[in-house]
Symmetry: C2
Subunit: 81 residues, 2 copies
């Protein structure tokens, strides 16, 4: 069966996120003042052929560890939709 | 109150996603064969000061339209956590 799986990859909370800071500056320049913090990450949508949702999740976690996330600087979360 | 809001920005389904295709090639080279499609988008995590969740959502939608998403090539979804 084909499963839709989302892998969220975000910069570690301990690290600065210069892209997020730049976006926050941009929003302030546009007059949007209510935003206190911005962090920018990636969202990777996968279509996975697997026997069940659990296997699909395992395949996505393996892909995240091997390629999608750099665990020195990023953490990831996998969600089967 | 401070609300955590996630803005998901993905390439439109009608468009090719060359970054997604590259990631899929990379996964195949790593021996991960079960993945049928990959699309790569952005996930922007915002901390928004607002009176209620509904206002926080409106502020995030405004930010997405004005800066975070390019609606010619991308669609976005806002989720208050």
């Amino acid at each position: 069966m084909l499963y839709s799986v989302e892998v969220k990859v975000m910069p570690l909370k301990e690290l600065l996120d210069p892209q997020g800071k730049a976006v926050m500056g941009g929003l302030e320049n546009l007059g949007i003042q209510e935003i206190r913090d911005v962090r920018v990450g990636k969202l990777i949508a996968l279509q996975i052929e697997a026997a069940d949702a659990d296997s699909a999740k395992k395949i996505a976690e393996n892909a995240a560890k091997k390629l999608l996330a750099n665990q020195v600087m990023e953490f990831f979360e996998v969600r089967v939709l």
